[in-house]
């Protein structure tokens, strides 16, 4: 009985206290026919830890590859060793949600520090304690924006500034990660909210002009920076134009790049209204896409629309500062059917890791990691020597054009142990010959050469 500490003597004395003859008797309220249909798996005992590890580690080993030039929402960054040494301490890892504040000051203070760091990165007033991931996070941001619009007096001003939209439609300006968009659509669609795409320009960027001619003002405009093609959007006019038509601006951002890039709160004249994204680049292993965490930051005026947990500083009976969950009246366990979201369990442990990561990196570290990612990607683009699909400035991802469909090339590279980027065909039918590549600060000159050589070979062989 793995993990069960009961001795025979324990069982006997406990049953005696309960007044039951055996454990089966404790199940006597369950209709017999339900119990009778037992699992049919017989009595096979479990594996030992050694056997379990053998089976799983063997499988894991089979999946090890060479250098990773794939990005598209998950990035292979260096993670300082201290991050997980500390995040996986039992006290952080095996605690529940901090319902008993006095016995959870470790987690609560850490989340408060996290909220501060994310507020600093995005320039926003507040941040929540995480949502699931970048995709569901975009959905929650859109729901927030729609709720905010519904609550504002029609004809009033968004954030107290201008005419507000009560629309149940949002627009995507330019290339937003299609994986995020799909998740968001599947989620907000259940409430009849529509997400529409505005085409990107030939330069791969959003065209703010398109926002001018919208028949009906949307609840929000979503813009991603850097966008899905790795390009730097001209965020200021997009933000301003969205505001102009009464929409909120939702900034979908990679938090690591904010070491270098303009904070969403500084976009355009008034700043974006909501910033969301995925925290994976901040000290979280790629781990097949999860667990990582989504974050949502916003203005003070929208805080009551923010989904998820929020930690606040308060005082204790002695007047000393301490931390507690706050604004819980937004949440499902209090507000039930009227809650801002159904989210309960979030991605707390990943927030723990990200907070330690950001502490270790500091402003200079984050900036330099971001600049190194950019530099390595420039090296990569130079080494691969393929035409760029869009000629706008890129950050640490770039769309390159092959002379053939990209998907088989990606497969051929994988067979050589190289994750050579994302073939864009499945997401953009007009980009079937395009490869989205990425290089983080971890990629070495040798790896980049190896990729270039292998790609040349693969292309030559196929020719």
């Amino acid at each position: 009985m793995p993990f069960i500490p009961h001795t025979k003597a324990d069982v006997a004395s406990m049953l005696a206290v309960v007044g039951a003859a055996d454990i089966d008797e404790l199940f006597d309220e369950i209709p017999a026919n339900l119990l009778a249909r037992d699992s049919g798996d017989g009595d096979a005992a479990g594996l030992t830890e050694m056997e379990t590890l053998r089976r799983m580690v063997e499988r894991a080993r089979a999946d090890e590859t060479g250098p990773c030039f794939l990005g598209a929402g998950a990035y292979d960054h260096h993670i300082p060793s201290a991050v997980w040494d500390i995040a996986s301490r039992g006290e952080f890892m095996t605690a529940y949600t901090p319902y008993q504040a006095e016995a959870s000051q470790g987690t609560l203070q850490l989340v408060y520090e996290f909220q501060t760091m994310m507020s600093e990165l995005t320039g926003m007033d507040v941040c929540n304690a995480s949502v699931y991931d970048g995709g569901s996070g975009l959905a929650e941001a859109i729901l927030m924006a729609v709720r905010a619009g519904e609550r504002r007096a029609p004809g009033g001003r968004a954030g107290g500034r201008r005419r507000a939209s009560r629309s149940r439609r949002v627009f995507l300006a330019g290339a937003v990660n299609p994986l995020y968009v799909a998740a968001a659509r599947n989620i907000v669609g259940q409430q009849g909210i529509e997400i529409s795409q505005l085409p990107h320009g030939d330069n791969g960027l959003a065209d703010p002009g398109l926002l001018k001619d919208l028949a009906e003002p949307p609840a929000a405009v979503v813009v991603q920076q850097p966008n899905f093609f790795g390009l730097l959007e001209d965020v200021d006019p997009v933000t301003d134009q969205a505001h102009e038509c009464g929409a909120l601006t939702i900034a979908c951002v990679n938090p690591l790049t904010l070491g270098l890039l303009k904070a969403p709160a500084d976009w355009g004249d008034d700043g974006a209204d909501i910033a969301c994204g995925d925290g994976q680049p901040l000290g979280i292993p790629m781990a097949s896409g999860g667990p990582s965490f989504g974050f949502i930051c916003t203005r003070q005026s929208l805080v009551r629309q923010l989904p998820g947990r929020i930690v606040g500083r308060t005082r204790d009976l002695d007047g000393k500062p301490g931390f507690t969950l706050t604004l819980q009246a937004r949440e499902q366990h209090i507000r039930r059917a009227k809650a801002t979201s159904n989210i309960c369990t979030n991605q707390g442990l990943l927030v723990t890791a990200a907070t330690i990561y950001l502490s270790l990196l500091g402003p200079e570290g984050l900036r330099n990691v971001a600049s190194a990612c950019h530099a390595r990607t420039r090296d990569l683009v130079a080494a691969l020597d393929l035409p760029r699909r869009f000629d706008s400035p890129y950050f640490h991802e770039c769309v390159l054009r092959l002379d053939r469909p990209a998907q088989p090339v990606v497969e051929a590279l994988a067979a050589q142990g190289i994750l050579g980027g994302l073939a864009l065909g499945p997401y953009f039918s007009d980009l079937a010959d395009c490869l989205l590549v990425c290089a983080t600060e971890k990629r070495t000159a040798r790896e980049i050469r190896q990729f270039a050589d292998t790609l040349r070979d693969a292309v030559r062989k196929a020719a």
Binding site: F3, P5, H6, L15, V17, I30, P31, N33, L34, L35, S39, A45, G46, L47, T52, R55, E58, R59, D63, D76, A82, I86, E91, T94, A95, T97, Q100, Q109, Y112, M117, C127, Y132, Q191, D234, K262, A263, M286, A287, S288, G289, G290, V303, I310, V311, D316, F323, T326, L327, Q332, N342, T345, N346, Q347, G348, L349, L358, L360, P393, A414, E441
Partner: protein, 492 residues
């Protein structure tokens, strides 16, 4: 409160080993760049390590305390499962890596799907939902899609027992449905008449746990299922309480059409101070085509991703909390079918033993005539009346005894309640020590209620003021805090 990391920071300080050399960004447009660096803390590596190491000491956790938090199944989180999921081949795997270089990972997911299908009796399981609430969302969305696909478009009511967990009604709303509560009888089971009255042509389905949030097995579950089914609705099983009957009863056999499991509860993955979790959804024949993708299938050429034919689509960017799924698989392998049955048995034994002992010690059990499943409710309404000590006071005082408090004020139905779930991994001695603590606090409540009302006394903070927190929102650190005086003098 300890000093914050920001209080430790000084301009120019660096954890230099983590700071790579700067590289040129000359070719980036000025307008895209930030003018000021973000106000992240500037600390040394030792400062960060020491700060967060010490901070961790201000948490109660399974690894350090008994944590009988009802509905949360705070059982031992095996370190071996953590290690299995931390194998480099898993940790470093890119979510979009081609299937050809992902066979090991896919084999694990496939194996977990099968285990969960077997233990729930469901036809197909999709692993992707990232927590219980997202599993619920998937399930309700599937139910809606099913009705709509049959042209049955008027069904937008979701029934939930009045004792339901908050995520159930919140989920229904998120799916655009209307929530209708169904009363629970004095015996803790759903009021069958109320249910009959509630169902109708607008019924999309019923969401419920079994055992219920009262820790009771819904004895007439088959009747409940029949009533809903007859009305054209479907049954959603909230698997948060599956630990009570794991390996003993299959939700499919009870009549459920779709369910989620909280792997971070029943399958012992660590809860991480808030998350992550994983909430796989399983569906029977009717709803399987609507499951969220991707699902792993086994073919002659190996494992492959596939999307169910009528899928509600993906709910996350990639395929869910993969790392949590791997931990759950490791746990399931270590249990085996026999171990799984033992989980339900010993969780139930511990709960009934603890309930009986507390009853003998003079506590009021909310449903004294019922068997406790893996958890049960104590109501402190009498103590509140007699001593002026609330369940909250009682909970805070328990913390002083070095145990985490049970869940308080949930379910709302029972006044001044404690929902207590010891789990199967705790020993009789630990449970006995908890009983002693409860008895002590009970005595204190009578003899010295102020001591209880002002608890806790031995923790890093005294009782924290929630009202103040909501009234004067302070959601981020600032260099010169206006509200609480000198920051630097408040450390400790």
């Amino acid at each position: 409160m300890m000093e914050t990391i920001f209080d430790l920071a000084r301009a120019e300080r660096r954890a230099s080993a983590q700071v790579p050399a700067p590289e040129s960004i000359d070719n980036l447009p000025e307008s895209a760049l930030r003018a000021e660096p973000p106000g992240l803390p500037e600390v040394s590596e030792l400062q960060a390590v020491r700060h967060y190491t010490r901070l961790s000491g201000n948490n109660y956790s399974i690894d350090t305390q008994f944590y009988p938090l009802g509905s949360c199944t705070m059982k031992y989180n095996p370190r071996g499962a953590h290690r299995a999921a931390s194998a480099p081949g898993f940790l470093d795997r890119h979510p979009l890596a081609p299937e050809s270089v992902s066979q090991g990972f896919l084999a694990c997911l496939y194996e977990l799907q099968q285990i969960l299908e077997r233990v729930t009796g469901m036809r197909t399981v999709s692993l992707t939902p990232m927590a219980g609430a997202q599993g619920e969302f998937a399930g309700v969305a599937m139910i809606r899609s099913y009705h709509v696909a049959r042209g049955d478009t008027g069904r937008n009511q979701v029934l939930v027992p009045s004792t339901a967990h908050g995520t159930n009604p919140a989920t229904a709303s998120m799916c655009g449905c209307v929530v209708r509560e169904v009363a629970v009888g004095s015996d803790g089971d759903v009021d069958i008449e109320a249910l009959r009255a509630a169902v109708g042509p607008e019924t999309a389905g019923l969401m419920t746990t079994n055992p219920s949030t009262c820790g009771l097995f819904e004895r007439r579950i088959e009747e409940v299922a029949a009533i809903v089914h007859e009305a054209g609705g479907l049954l959603y099983y909230d698997g948060a309480n599956l630990n009570a009957v794991l390996g003993k009863v299959k939700p499919a056999d009870m009549g459920f059409d779709v369910l989620h499991l909280n792997l971070h509860k029943t399958f012992a993955t660590p809860h991480g101070g808030g998350g992550p979790g994983a909430g796989p959804v399983g569906a029977g024949e009717k709803l399987a085509p609507y499951l969220p993708g991707p699902i792993v299938e086994k073919t002659a050429d190996g494992y492959r991703w596939k999307e169910p034919p009528e899928t509600i689509g993906r709910l996350s960017a990639f395929m869910g909390n993969a790392g949590i799924l791997l931990r759950a698989l490791a746990y399931a392998l270590m249990l085996g079918p026999e171990g799984m049955r033992r989980v339900g048995e010993f969780a139930t034994l511990n709960a009934n033993y603890l309930a009986t002992r507390l009853q003998h010690a003079g506590f009021d059990i909310a449903y004294p005539d019922r068997r406790a499943c893996h958890e049960f409710i104590v109501t402190l309404a009498r103590q509140k009346r007699e001593c002026g000590v609330t369940a909250m006071d009682f909970a805070k005082r328990l913390l002083d005894y070095g145990v985490h408090a049970p869940t308080t004020y949930f379910p709302l139905l029972v006044p001044e309640c404690f929902l207590i779930e010891p789990t199967e991994t705790e020993s009789k001695e630990t449970i006995d020590a908890f009983v002693e603590a409860m008895i002590s606090v009970l005595a204190e409540a009578a003899s010295n209620p102020e001591l209880v009302r002002s608890a806790p006394h031995t923790l890093p903070s005294k009782r924290l003021d929630d009202v103040e927190a909501a009234r004067r929102l302070d959601l981020r650190w600032r260099a010169a805090p206006a509200s609480f005086g000198d920051h630097s003098s408040t450390s400790g």
